[in-house]
């Protein structure tokens, strides 16, 4: 009885950890690419607006976006099939954990861009000049100056992404209609089931478990945030 809930927690943690790491690395790269452009340019305006939409608005719409892309009759699936590749040979993976990883990454990267851009903006050009003036290469600058200054901000953003993925519900709910691989979907089953009545207490217990995880993560985030503001303001 209890094993399925424990499994769901483990899978939820895995999903959040994988998408947080992938999302924060890709998002940091994208934020860097945007920040090296003109501060008032079109690229930056479009990327930040699009990031705002995809990070906050997502939910159900993203599930359908990926259904249209890599679903059984999606665009990519069809193009691959025309070239003799069966993307669904491993089963309907989009409706299972791998599919969730892909879709979650799609809203994690934009969130990383939003939260990491201010940190990159805080890097002062003088630091770069000082490093170069002292004979440092671009590598030494990133390794010895920018890296250490950005590290707390990066880790903090990573934790924020983790909490974001852990508490997400809408995308998974719209994508996965059978089974409940992660905790939020377990809660849905308990909350809406017409077969198992009187499971409210179990739903509340799972909910409390989620709050504990998110609260711990956010507390670490607050600590890192304090450290971040020492250099970047």
């Amino acid at each position: 009885m209890g094993a399925q809930y424990l499994d769901a927690f483990v899978r939820s943690l895995e999903l959040s950890a994988i998408t947080a790491v992938v999302g924060s690395v890709l998002g940091a790269l994208l934020a860097w690419a945007v920040v090296t452009g003109r501060p008032d340019g079109v690229l930056r305006r479009v990327v930040t607006s699009a990031a705002g939409v995809l990070a906050q608005f997502g939910g159900v719409t993203l599930a359908f976006a990926f259904l249209a892309t890599v679903g059984p009759v999606g665009l990519v699936t069809k193009v691959l099939a025309d070239h003799g590749v069966d993307a669904l040979s491993g089963g309907a993976w989009i409706f299972e954990l791998p599919g969730l990883v892909l879709v979650y990454t799609y809203f994690q990267v934009p969130l990383m861009v939003i939260v990491f851009l201010p940190a990159l903006d805080g890097l002062k050009p003088q630091w770069r000049e000082a490093a170069t003036g002292l004979g440092g290469t671009a590598w030494t600058y990133w390794r010895r100056v920018a890296g250490p200054v950005l590290a707390p901000a990066f880790l903090g953003s990573l934790l924020l992404l983790f909490a974001n993925a852990f508490s997400a519900y809408a995308t998974a709910a719209a994508l996965v209609s059978q089974g409940a691989p992660i905790v939020p979907l377990q809660i849905r089953n308990l909350q809406t089931s017409e077969v198992l009545l009187g499971q409210q207490n179990l739903a509340r217990a799972l909910g409390f478990g989620m709050v504990v995880v998110v609260a711990v993560v956010m507390a670490c985030y607050a600590l890192l945030q304090r450290r971040t503001t020492r250099w970047l303001r």
Partner: protein, 266 residues
């Protein structure tokens, strides 16, 4: 030189990753059935689907109501805390940020039993969702308004207004509101975006909002729900882009006088 190449590669690869699903949505929603070719029947179907239209109307009404309630609740509180009880500022901030720590799906578990009372007292209209939505938008609205109030000298302005005989209402409506109008606008736009995109609470409390209608439509007509999804995404994107352009114009105007007075040959 290498950094230019890396930058180009990053922008191209991630750009493709983010555009591909949108292109696929446009493709999927315009497929012409078994005969092949293109047609727009899915897009035309949006207006003729009563459930979907109801959902859109409900969500728009909720967006307006939530924005209003958020402002009525938050703006006077924040002004009052700043002017009269600054010691409470941290507490109010923490309370407003709490919804970030409590996942919406957990909130629903706690609030479901409470909502049977709301339904009992106010009827089972979907508009009662406004009460939870106000809680959900608190963190975003708080930070937007907080930045706006920080940017204006609230104490001096309110004391000036008071000494000219203005009451609290006048201060709120004729000093604070115009002074923080960009912040108020951005708080409202964030609220609208969040309400139009919200699914978790509406679906688990069984209220037919836009996102619930989309998810429902997806069970019988995928093309239709993909068309609505794309339309909703593009609408939200247009809203945020408009906000960022608006924000730029505002900063350009407020920076200019400083530049004029603080430099250059006299």
């Amino acid at each position: 030189m290498t950094s230019r190449v890396v930058r180009g590669v990053v922008l191209t690869v991630l750009g493709a990753f983010f555009l591909l699903p949108l292109v696929a949505m446009a493709d999927f929603s315009t497929r012409g059935g078994l005969s092949g070719g293109r047609d727009l029947s899915a897009w035309r179907g949006i207006a003729s689907d009563p459930v979907l239209v109801d959902g859109i109307v409900t969500s728009l009404e909720l967006a307006v109501l939530t924005s209003l309630l958020m402002l009525v609740l938050l703006l006077p509180t924040m002004v009052w805390v700043r002017l009269r009880v600054p010691a409470l500022r941290r507490t109010v901030e923490f309370l407003c940020l709490l919804p970030l720590i409590i996942p919406a799906v957990v909130l629903v578990v706690g609030i479901a039993s409470l909502y049977s009372w709301v339904t009992y007292l106010l009827g089972d209209s979907a508009l009662t969702l406004v009460f939870v939505y106000v809680v959900l938008v608190l963190p975003y609205a708080y930070r937007a308004l907080d930045a706006g109030l920080d940017a204006m000298d609230l104490r001096t302005l309110s004391e000036a207004a008071r000494s000219l005989g203005a009451g609290w209402w006048t201060i709120l409506l004729r000093v604070v509101l115009p002074g923080a109008r960009t912040a108020v606008l951005s708080a409202c736009l964030l609220t609208v975006a969040l309400v139009l995109g919200e699914f978790t609470l509406a679906s688990l409390l069984n209220f037919p909002t836009l996102q619930v209608a989309i998810a429902l439509a997806g069970k019988r007509d995928a093309a239709l729900s993909i068309a609505v999804s794309l339309a909703a995404l593009l609408l939200a994107f247009a809203l945020l882009l408009a906000l960022s352009v608006l924000g730029r114009r505002r900063t350009a105007r407020s920076v200019a006088p400083v530049a004029l007075t603080s430099g250059g040959p006299a």
